[in-house]
């Protein structure tokens, strides 16, 4: 069942607004073709150089010449003139069939949609039956009843295409009816029929316009086809289809005859389709007023080439698995310019350690995870820095080598388990696939390992669950599967991107426990990305706070919570709901995280910071030894807080 306004909660009419930009050119070109077509159709008698029926058998089948720009046909008639008169038939045909389709389909659709019940059932079954017969066959059968000829063929096409208008109108009525019944309870005295009518007309117009463009294109092609097989326009009248029909007989002698009418059909249909595409797009997008894609207010001044403030690399850790140094990531914005999303990012994780990466959304923490994997996507790239995993710089690897690393040395668990598992395959097969392709296990070995892994992540009846599809599992269970898959090749680094955010609170804790357990068993390093400080506090050994694409603070978890040094961290902590202090409203940090490309040129937090001074207007390095902070006022603020 088609409900055309399902994606639109309010019942106000949608507006058609053409987007400027690339489509303007298309609209202009397609529009001019169609205007020309109509112009030629109306003024064919004056424009055509010859009478389209006037033959000159002596001058039959001549090539293009000054007298006959497109040559002459098998009877010596001027091809150009016939082509111009063909415009008239094309316009007539399209107008006639489309009008019939609309006039027949829309009222009937409104009627059965409004009336419902038995009428609706019967008509819809008939429509289904008609639709299940190939369209051209329906037209052929109707022509068998009505006889051949342009108008009769167009009636046939009108009847054929009315089914789509019927379904469209019916869909609008059904959708609006629901709406109106809810409202009409409040409107006293007005019949719902009137309300229905008032609501339907504005709502049916946009899809109707789209459907009309689709139908016009289809009618033009169908008319040409029917005329071609001799059931549409009858010779000697010039329609593009009949011109092709006679051209077909002389293909061996003069193939050029097939060219002009063919091009005329293609250009016309193309123009109608293109216009239809643009209209369809603008109706689709017209629903929500799009965000202005205009320029960012401020450009990111610190040159892309150099990382703003040269922060010293943090000291190496013992038993370090991953070491990221001076990472910078750019993505292309809407206007095609690249903007940085991560700058000057350095950190390390050692074996068996969990590093929590904390920040609001937009801070670049997920991108960090993805850039380690080399999976930022088509719009972004890593421009500076190194990502050293187990002693190899991943940025220097070929895509093939990187593919090898992924899964085996580093794996990732995503936020939403229901979307990160492929809905088309059983969960077991998705784990087995990794084992087979990455570790070269046989199908049988892989499967028994799958069952073991599923068992290991705490899912009961693993054999059975392995054969389930993702949609058959609960969120928590699906996340356990995702974790099992990530760990299947025993990676030395696991990146967990908000793995508990999409889950129920009770399940969250179980999953966190699972991570801890597994880390104990497998000994991998975990980069745990989350916006939730409580979760981070629970799972992490160290926490790194990110803000606007850079790290602002990093410390041991207890130290950070005890003594946050960056004003941002402090803001985050005070916004954290503590079980003890529910009563006073949570203080929040004013403003929002600035969008990439509109970062302040100095300290990126300076525009939201209560402690910002003039000194904060230049890039600030990340400094410190055991704990790091990116704030020039950190020492004095710490003193203040302590006092």
């Amino acid at each position: 069942m088609t409900t055309t306004s399902q994606n639109e909660p309010n019942t106000g009419p949608r507006r058609i607004n053409f987007r400027p930009s690339a489509s303007t050119a298309i609209v202009a070109a397609a529009g001019s073709v169609l205007v020309l077509l109509v112009f030629l159709a109306i003024f064919a008698d004056w424009i055509a150089p010859y009478d389209p029926l006037r033959q000159n058998l002596i001058k039959a089948m001549q090539g293009p010449s000054a007298a006959h720009w497109l040559g002459t046909d098998d009877l010596g008639r001027d091809v150009l003139s016939r082509l111009i008169f063909g415009c008239r038939i094309a316009v007539l045909a399209a107008a006639e069939a489309t009008s019939i389709a609309v006039l027949l389909g829309v009222p009937l659709g409104l009627f059965i949609g409004y009336r419902g019940g038995w009428w609706d059932w019967v008509v819809m079954r008939v429509v289904e039956a008609v639709v299940s017969i190939p369209g051209i066959m329906v037209a052929i059968v109707i022509i068998a009843i009505l006889g051949a000829g342009l108008h009769r063929a167009m009636i046939a096409l009108g009847i054929l295409f009315s089914t789509s208008f019927l379904r469209l109108a019916r869909g609008v009525v059904l959708a609006e009816r629901e709406e109106v019944y809810v409202r009409s309870a409040r409107v006293i005295g007005a019949s719902d029929r009137r309300i229905l009518l008032r609501h339907i007309f504005p709502n049916i117009a946009p899809p109707l316009v789209v459907q009309v463009t689709l139908t016009v294109g289809a009618v033009l092609l169908a008319e040409a086809g029917l005329s071609f097989i001799g059931l549409g326009v009858q010779p000697p009248d010039a329609s593009w289809g009949t011109m092709l029909n006679s051209a077909a007989a002389y293909m061996d002698l003069n193939w050029f005859l097939a060219v002009p009418p063919g091009i005329a059909i293609i250009l016309t249909v193309l123009s109608v389709n293109l216009l239809g595409d643009v209209i369809r797009d603008s109706i689709g997008r017209g629903v929500a007023v799009g965000v202005d894609p205009g320029k960012p207010a401020e450009r990111f001044v610190p040159a892309i080439a150099a990382t703003g403030a040269e922060s010293p690399a943090p000291p190496p850790l013992a038993d370090e698995v991953l070491r990221v140094e001076g990472l910078q990531v750019l993505v292309s914005g809407r206007d095609g310019h690249e903007v940085p999303v991560i700058t000057d990012l350095s950190f390390g994780i050692s074996r068996g350690e969990t590093l929590g990466l904390v920040g609001e959304s937009g801070s670049g923490k997920t991108i960090t995870g993805l850039s380690i994997l080399g999976l930022i996507g088509a719009g972004g790239r890593t421009t500076h820095g190194s990502i050293v995993l187990n002693g190899r710089d991943l940025r220097r690897l070929t895509p093939k080598q990187l593919e090898e690393v992924r899964g085996n040395e580093v794996a990732m668990v995503f936020q939403d388990p229901t979307t990160s598992l492929n809905p088309a395959f059983t969960v077991g097969s998705q784990i087995a696939e990794v084992l087979r392709t990455k570790q070269g296990l046989s199908g049988k070995q892989a499967w028994s390992r799958v069952v073991e892994l599923i068992d290991r992540v705490g899912i009961p009846r693993p054999e059975e669950r392995a054969r389930a599809y993702p949609h058959e599992l609960s969120g928590g269970m699906a996340q356990r599967i995702a974790i099992a898959r990530a760990l299947s090749c025993n990676p030395s680094l696991l990146i967990a991107d908000e793995p508990t955010t999409a889950l129920d609170v009770t399940v969250q804790q179980e999953i966190l426990d699972l991570f801890r357990d597994l880390q104990g068993e497998f000994g991998m390093a975990i980069l745990f990305v989350t916006h939730d400080l409580a979760v981070a506090a629970d799972i992490s050994d160290r926490i790194s706070v990110m803000y606007a694409g850079e790290m602002v603070e990093m410390a041991e978890v207890d130290a950070l919570f005890a003594r946050p040094r960056h004003p941002y961290t402090r803001g985050l902590l005070s916004a954290m709901p503590h079980a003890s202090s529910r009563n006073p409203p949570l203080p929040t940090i004013r403003g929002n995280v600035p969008r990439p490309g509109s970062w302040p040129s100095g300290c990126r937090f300076s525009n939201r910071c209560d402690f910002a001074t003039a000194a904060c207007e230049r890039p600030i390095p990340l400094v410190g030894t055991d704990r790091l902070v990116r704030c020039i006022r950190a020492p004095e603020l710490e003193l203040k807080a302590a006092s």
Partner: protein, 505 residues
């Protein structure tokens, strides 16, 4: 239908038995012929128009045309015509392919059926037929008919097995005495009809093929491709671009068989029942004058035809040289006539068309358009033009007149009130009627020729038959077929005589 299947099974068994005996002459090889019209029926007495090549393998007629158009006995041995009595001696020892004997009884039943069905126009003069003795057939005529034996050379003389006449599916199950029998199992409807040797044929030496196929390829280009690629050995063409291509191809030959296909427009509604203008002779003359036959021949028929103003062409005894050029192209005069007529503003009429005539009709429509007449071209299914032309569906039609046809058929087709192509039952003029009667009084062409010259002149004057161009019967063949000495083209027909035909090497 069931009955036929059982009998054919018996025959097949018989055939297998006979195949072993040295007396049976089995042919070898296959010959493939392509027909340009679609198969409508294989019942000779319901067949109209073209499509005879589908019938010839299975059916034989009492007489056939010799190489010079003379009547040669085939299933008959001799005949005498005495006024209204025709006596025909039949060949003895002939049987139908279903085992029934061929005798006067069977022949009489055939003639009577043909008369009753009334489609074979040559039999219109026949009152009835009866068996005089076992092998003597007597035909009683309604009127003197100089062409009765000619009629019996074609479908009117084709002999159907008596029991098959009752088969409602006779149109696809022919049972005759011909050298070949139709193989329903191997045939594919709408594509190819397959014929295999008739094990009971009376003249086994004349069976030269193991298999004969008639392909239905209505598309001229497709038929040409089939000939080029050797899918067929021969096929018939109208004078169209494809025929012209065959004529020019070094490894193909275009045979110009005797007999002409005289393309003409028939104003059926000449009393103006549906199209009042057609009742005005000035309008009809204007139409005849509006046609540029030379240009038509060049552009549409690629110069393969000659312009035509009367039913017969040069060399035919009924041809009158005096009529040459009587309606020579003169559009001014045509317009003048239209202006003088009661229809100076022109009029519109419908014309049936089959695909092979489409360009011709478009050209004619163009000519008529010049004098203010709009001709709508209405497609009808190929193979049904002749039949539709016999109905009042169309006020005018277009057909070809085969110039080997006896001129008496002009009257039977077009002139008499009950003529086949006079669906509006237009009354003939006194002059035409008198000439038609006069033409029947003798069998001697010397006597008849002046009468038919007069008839041609009268027809030209009344101008309800507008002759356009006359083209020879064209058969396109491969080089191998052209060199095959056993290939004999039937006189005035677009088919090959199957008796004695052997495959190309």
């Amino acid at each position: 239908m069931k009955k036929w299947i059982t009998t054919s099974g018996v025959i097949a068994a018989l055939a297998l038995g006979l195949a072993g005996s040295p007396a049976s002459a089995q042919g070898s090889g296959t010959f493939k012929y392509a027909e340009q019209v679609k198969l409508i029926t294989m019942d000779p007495q319901k067949q109209s128009g073209s499509g005879v090549p589908f019938l010839r393998p299975a059916y034989e007629s009492l007489f056939e045309k010799g190489p010079d158009g003379e009547n040669v006995p085939l299933l008959a041995t001799e005949y005498t015509v005495d006024g209204l009595d025709v006596t025909i001696k039949l060949r003895e020892g002939v049987s139908f392919s279903n085992g029934e004997p061929f005798n006067a009884e069977a022949a009489a039943a055939n003639i009577n059926r043909g008369v009753e069905i009334g489609i074979v126009e040559g039999l219109k003069t026949v009152e009835s037929a009866k068996a005089i003795d076992e092998y003597t057939l007597g035909i009683k005529l309604k009127e003197i008919d100089p062409a009765i034996i000619t009629t019996l050379c074609y479908t009117g003389g084709m002999m159907i097995a008596p029991s098959a006449m009752a088969d409602p599916a006779l149109d696809r199950n022919p049972v005759g005495t011909g050298p070949y029998v139709h193989s329903k199992d191997e045939s594919r409807e709408g594509e190819v009809q397959v014929y295999v040797p008739n094990p009971t044929y009376w003249d086994k030496d004349m069976i030269g093929l193991a298999r004969y196929e008639v392909w239905e390829i209505p598309d001229d280009t497709a038929r040409l491709n089939a000939l080029k690629t050797g899918q067929i050995d021969a096929g018939n063409w109208l004078s169209n671009p494809q025929a012209a291509i065959i004529d020019k191809s070094p490894d193909l030959k275009l045979i110009r068989n005797n007999g002409g296909l005289n393309y003409h427009v028939i104003i059926s509604d000449r009393e103006g029942t549906v199209v009042p203008a057609f009742a005005d002779p000035m309008v009809r003359k204007a139409m005849a004058l509006a046609i540029d036959r030379d240009a038509f021949n060049q552009a549409i028929q690629f110069g393969l035809a000659v312009k035509s103003f009367q039913p017969y062409g040069k060399g035919d005894w009924a041809y009158d040289p005096a009529l040459e050029g009587v309606y020579e192209y003169n559009v001014e005069k045509a317009r003048e006539l239209m202006a003088q007529s009661k229809f100076p503003d022109g009029f519109t009429f419908d014309m049936p068309s089959i695909p092979i005539y489409q360009p011709r009709l478009e050209a004619l429509a163009g000519f008529f358009n010049e004098i203010g007449i709009t001709m709508n071209i209405v497609p009808v299914e190929p193979g049904t033009l002749a039949r539709r032309s016999r109905t009042t569906d169309f006020p005018a039609t277009n057909l070809v007149w085969n110039t080997v046809t006896d001129p008496k058929f002009l009257a039977l087709r077009y002139i008499y009130e009950d003529a086949a192509y006079n669906p509006f039952k237009a009354k003939p003029s006194e002059a035409l009627l008198a000439l038609a009667q006069e033409g029947l009084t003798s069998v001697e062409t010397d006597v008849r020729a002046p009468i038919y010259h007069k008839m041609a002149a009268q027809l030209a004057d009344e101008a309800f038959l507008i002759f356009v161009t006359n083209a020879p019967i064209l058969i396109g063949v491969s080089d191998d077929t052209a060199e095959n000495p056993t290939v004999r083209y039937r006189y005035g027909e677009d088919s090959i005589n199957l008796r004695g035909l052997k495959a190309n090497d």
